[in-house]
């Protein structure tokens, strides 16, 4: 009896909650660490990047307007789905990063735990970084964090799954929407994450995932007037500088590449606060009489 021929997966982009191919019709070969062919991933074009921004923009109102509790529920649902597909991701991460099964499993476990950690932040970050200010005068004012809007995220090149989630989860936990450029050589775990997101109550457009040449996709994103912020984690020094200059055109919030030795180290709140604005709302206070009480 001949060995069964496996069914291969056609990897696609994830834009606006749908799984399109690149409009350019292009693909590129993705190989494992030994150079064996794994799949043909979509080679996204500038047009794909712009389409993803349109989808992300459309999703901002609903996602940022959802209650923080609801966003937490949705993010936790993603973790549940990830857990169910643990074996698939261990396999993909092992292939993508050339890791043993057990090392890859550690990465995937850490990734799922990271996602859970951020799921719990959605309704706490405002209390931690916002607050009432003791104004010297008859005024009440309150500072609250708000999402900055559409964030372009260049995923780390080396850590195809833990790194990816470490930069994506904080962006959407706080109510932003994201256009993610997956690791150029190891995009498959990111593209499979899209399948999880699509089945996890994450509204279409909140996360959009593109694969291809980081520099080619990132350049129009950095220059895009309707992108509010960019995380340069996956850019090398030369590209990062170029993108930061382009980002100055509409004063995008820029998170420069940070030296990260180990993505499994405990993240702080920095990746959340980098894409938050602080709004301070003032109102006069009234007086209820000299006694200090209305009663």
């Amino acid at each position: 009896m001949s060995e069964r021929l496996t069914v291969l997966k056609t990897y696609k982009l994830y834009v606006g909650g749908k799984f399109p191919r690149s409009e350019s019709g292009r693909v590129y070969e993705v190989t494992d660490s030994k150079g064996n062919w794994l799949a043909n991933a979509p080679l996204s074009s500038r047009k794909d990047a712009r389409d993803a921004v349109v989808a992300a923009r459309k999703a901002v109102g609903g996602w940022s307007g959802a209650t923080a509790y609801n966003r937490g529920q949705v993010l936790y649902r993603v973790a549940e789905m990830l857990e169910g597909r643990r074996a698939q991701f261990v396999h993909e991460v092992a292939d993508a990063e050339g890791l043993s099964k057990s090392k890859a499993a550690e990465q995937v476990d850490a990734t799922i735990d990271r996602w859970v950690w951020y799921a719990g932040w959605t309704d706490k970050i405002a209390q931690v970084v916002g607050g009432g200010n003791p104004v010297a005068g008859p005024f009440f004012n309150l500072s609250s964090p708000e999402p900055t809007g559409v964030v372009a995220v260049l995923a780390p090149q080396k850590s195809s799954f833990l790194g990816l989630v470490s930069v994506l989860a904080p962006v959407i936990a706080t109510g932003n929407t994201a256009v993610v450029v997956a690791s150029e050589n190891a995009p498959l775990p990111a593209l499979s994450l899209a399948e999880v997101l699509a089945t996890s109550d994450v509204p279409g457009g909140v996360v959009n995932i593109l694969s291809g040449r980081t520099a080619e996709i990132a350049t129009p994103l950095a220059a895009h007037q309707d992108v509010n912020a960019i995380d340069l984690a996956g850019a090398d020094e030369v590209l990062a500088k170029e993108l930061e200059i382009a980002a100055a055109d509409n004063l995008k919030r820029v998170l420069r590449p940070q030296p990260v030795d180990d993505w499994s180290a405990a993240p702080g709140t920095d990746r959340m606060t980098a894409f938050l604005e602080t709004k301070t709302v003032w109102h006069p206070t009234g007086s209820l009489g000299a006694s200090g009480s209305a009663y």
Binding site: V128, V129, G131, N133, P134, V135, A136, G137, F139, N141, S143, T148, N228, E237, A240, K241, E244, I245, A247, A248, D249, N250, L251, R253, R256, G268, D270, E277, T278, K279, T280, V281, W282, H283, P284
Partner: protein, 478 residues
Amino acid sequence: MASVFAYAPAPESRSIVDIAPSYGLFIDGEFTDAADGKVFKTVSPSSEEVLSEIAQAGEADVDRAVKAARKAFEKWSALPGSERAKYLFRIARIVQERSRELAVLETLDNGKPIKETRDADLPLVAAHFFYYAGWADKLDHAGYGPNPAPLGVAGQVIPWNFPLLMLAWKIAPALATGNTVVLKPAETTPLSALFFADICRQAGLPKGVVNILPGYGDAGAALVAHPDVNKVAFTGSTAVGKEIARTVAGTRKKVTLELGGKGANIVFDDAPIDQAVEGIVNGIFFNQGQVCCAGSRLLVQESIHDELLDSLKRRLSTLRLGDPLDKNTDIGAINSEEQLSRITSLVERGEAEGAERWSPACDLPESGYWFAPTLFTNVTQAHTVARDEIFGPVLSVLTFRTPDEAVAKANNTPYGLSAGIWTEKGSRILAVANKLRAGVVWSNTFNKFDPTSPFGGYKESGFGREGGRHGLEAYLDV
């Protein structure tokens, strides 16, 4: 301004301030000439009188000042926070003691009314130093983890609209967190910063911790680009802010930018009209409208447009324009000839595009730079006067019908610094405030500032916050 009730002149004496005929740069605790010997004159915008001749910093001076600040950083950052706090408390106290002198000086150099320097600028300057003085020994509790570290040398470039207040916003948090400072004041208003150098001397601040480099844009650019500057803080135009963002690209310099605005002041039909009129006036005519967070776009609910405009025009007719040193003056001089011509050309463009211009009967003084308070009605969102920051006493009036339309129009700008909401309905305030893309939202008030409250913009109004706990972040390695 002809009026039945004419006011007698009530001038503040300028004898309280002693302006020297010339000033140097303040580097490493000493006043010194510019390396290339260049000087420029600073004039009083209300009279065009030359007040003093100031050394003009160039690239070599920037380098010298940064070196001095770097040297001072070692000791200053190593001081216990409680000691740094005491220096800042001293500065705050000396500012209070000399506040009348500084208010007169600021009015002379900037052209703004003494009423404002005396009652707004100076008390806020002192308050900022007091507020951040108290943080210096409490940084472990600021929410940035234990032992947050200072960045190093802060290069700070400030504008001419609130010369001493912007200095306080920049220097107080920088010193509290253990950074040292090279600050470039604007070329039209260098004097109060140089007087501040003297306050640093009186306070016994170690040499090199604060350096003041009066000069033009080239000095600012050299400071921003200097490789040994760790932190750049800028308040000014969006165009320059973008240039700075490009300059620091690819470096590790931390940047905060506080840029332009085109604030919407939204008045609903149930607003307390009299208070709203005061808020509108304060929102756009405070400091001759030369305020980045000015409420320069008035959005009025259509049903009360005529009534509100009548009240507003009546109120504008009572504003007194003239000698900024007169305690009864509401509207002072425009800061410079250059700024006056910018305002004039934008207003002419507004007329050419078909908006309707109105000003109260108003005599302008013979000398100096003046612009009458001005309203534009029949303004659409496409008009230049509704889109560009004018930075002068010019208000554009637009209308809306529903809260959604008000929000859409308010947000229809690349800027996002400030907004105002006037309504009696609390739930409407909260709903609208939530949807506005602006860093500061004033409800039933306008142009209120406080050192405890973070201030800064969304979108092209810049990034980072000044004031409050949030303002510390800009100067800490977090």
